[in-house]
């Protein structure tokens, strides 16, 4: 029984010009202590599916799913009050912009202690001690003094550490990190990723890392799920994915990595992710795929088996060698 289990999750946004499907029939499992990376371009719905899980989407979003359970509890049929006891407690999330994700009007200490009081009911002294402990755990120097600081008095990296400390305050079973390093300097990025990985080792929590950076994936993740235009197009353990991608999109993504470039020019994927009005009838990647034929353009491919990385493709790449071996 996995920690998080999502089946057939779809999210639609009501816009002025009709409904827009941001997440389309996504299945996802996360096990305890596992690091799963969700990769995709901007607008591929990778954040939206996790925000839907957390219940953080605006009211314009409609969420449908066959199953959405966390730690054996059914999140779909749970009332909001009970769900609020899980969110921020067993299930926590950190965001892309640490500077704007902390409330500018309160000290960071106040914001951490709020969670501790709300979910754990600690008294004032215990809250303070735990907050200091957390700051030390995430590597914030001089925690006593930093607790009284306002977010604008600290750097982006420090603020992201505060966000992480806040997220792990209640010892969550699953931490979702939504592009936690995108807004930070490159040197800080590595530190934050190391911190997240080491926290996983210490606490044994599951970690979902949402990113568009293949380098981050290669360094940190254990399993990778690739999303394209709202659909999960492939999922594999990280080593296998880099070695033998099955979906043409994954293959193209990997080819576009500068480290893998063999030619003088970096290969690119022509075209853009389909929007609200140019969504193809068949495979969503078909307009940009070099292998696409009439069948791809007419009928949407169903996911293949686990041996082919659940790829949503009629003509998976790297399949022949695999079968032959």
């Amino acid at each position: 029984m996995s920690l998080l289990r999502i089946r057939n999750l779809s999210v639609d946004f009501a816009t002025a010009s009709g409904a827009f499907r941001a997440v389309d029939a996504v299945d996802q499992d996360v096990d305890t202590g596992e690091i799963l990376a969700i990769v995709g371009e901007s607008g591929s719905g990778k954040s939206v599916s996790m925000l839907a899980l957390m219940g953080l989407l605006p009211w314009t979003a409609t969420i449908t799913a066959d199953e959405m359970s966390f730690d054996g509890k059914d999140l779909l049929r749970m009332d909001t009050r009970a769900k609020r006891r899980i969110i921020g407690n067993d299930l926590a999330m950190i965001f892309q912009e640490p500077m704007s994700s902390l409330n500018p009007c309160f000290t960071v200490g106040w914001q951490i202690k709020e969670s501790l009081r709300y979910h754990l009911g600690l008294d004032r002294r215990a809250r303070h001690a735990r907050a200091i402990e957390l700051f030390e755990q995430v590597g914030i120097p001089d925690p006593e003094k930093r607790l009284a600081a306002f977010p604008h008095q600290m750097s982006g990296g420090m603020n992201q550490r505060v966000m992480i400390a806040m997220a792990i305050a209640c010892k969550p079973k699953l931490l979702i990190a939504d592009e936690p390093t995108t807004a930070l300097d490159v040197t800080i990025q590595a530190q934050i990723l190391d911190l997240l990985a080491s926290l996983r080792d210490e606490t044994g929590m599951g970690l979902v890392l949402i990113t568009h950076d293949m380098g981050v994936v290669a360094e940190t993740a254990e399993r990778v799920s690739v999303q394209y235009a709202g659909q999960k197009v492939e999922e594999q353990p990280v080593v296998d994915l880099f070695a033998t991608p099955h979906h043409p999109y994954t293959a193209a993504l990997l080819d576009a990595l500068p480290e893998r470039a063999t030619d003088k020019f970096l290969p690119t994927i022509p075209g853009v992710v389909p929007g609200q009005f140019d969504r193809p009838k068949g495979c969503l990647f078909s307009p940009r795929c070099k292998f696409a034929d009439a069948k791809c353009k007419a009928t949407p491919p169903p996911p293949l088996g686990a041996d082919l990385g659940f790829a949503r493709c009629f003509y998976p790449v790297n399949s022949d060698e695999r079968i032959a071996s």
């Binding site: 006891r85 009007c105 008095q153």
Partner: protein, 335 residues
Amino acid sequence: MLNYVLSRLLTFVPTFIGVTLISFMFIRMLPGDPIIVMAGERGVSPERYAELSAQFGYDRPVYVQFFEYLGGVLQGDLGTSFVTKRPVWDEFFTLFPATLELSICAMIFAVALGLPAGVIAAVNRGKFFDRALMSTALVGYSMPIFWWALLLIIVFSGNLQWTPVSGRIDLLYYFPDPTGFMLIDAVASGQKGALFSAVRHLVLPTIVLGTIPLAVIARQTRSAMLEVLGEDYIRTARSKGLSPARINGIHALRNALIPVITVIGLSVGTLLAGAILTETIFSWPGIGKWMVDSIFRRDYPVVQGGLLLIAVMVMIVNLTVDMLYGVINPKIRKR
């Protein structure tokens, strides 16, 4: 922060001199010679005219008069009323508590209703509550308050006979007024029913004076809340599993208050302008009515002094709001 305070105080000085100059100039520009007005119906002989002219210093060059006036102002001497022969300074501070009491009540009324209305509207954005509250606020914002006062009088004083039409308390009660605040003095007097009578007199003027600030605060709170509710840190607060009441009432409102407090502070000027109409209609013995009466009586020293004192008060309030802004906005405080 200290530099900020000092620089704000420095801009206060030229503005203060300018305000004094303007109120000084008004008396020179008003139609009719002040001395002839003062002499009244009986007229005045040329000798007496020259004597009075010298007494008030009107025979000297205008700039000399101005500096003398400015010197007087700085020592708290604003001249003497033509009509009551009392110093303007004394008159102002006898009447000021009445206006202050009314203004404070109006402001409490406006904030107590306007803030929750704005928050509720923002949280229920686009739904029935939002539309209803904001339509009401727009009507209040567009209200000619002198007419609003008359309507309330027709309904509550005329038809229902609940509230009196004018004054601060029934003539039945008489007691010393050490503070000038009728509510406090009524309690202090220990007379039975005095407080109730004072409150009944206060209700309609409070509503009338508070209506426009109420509408402004509600509208401002809503737009500030809407802006704040879209911020990332609200999403963080929601990701902590906090209750909507806590998110809206603490995380969002605390941030939304920053622009709202500025608006509350800036509406003090509006409040005083509204006090002119409200006090005139309800015969409320405060500085608004005093100013209007003095303008009609051509009591120049009072108009001049009152104008100056009111302007200085508005300036002090604006300055305080600026300082307060630093206190409630941590980004400015610690810089």
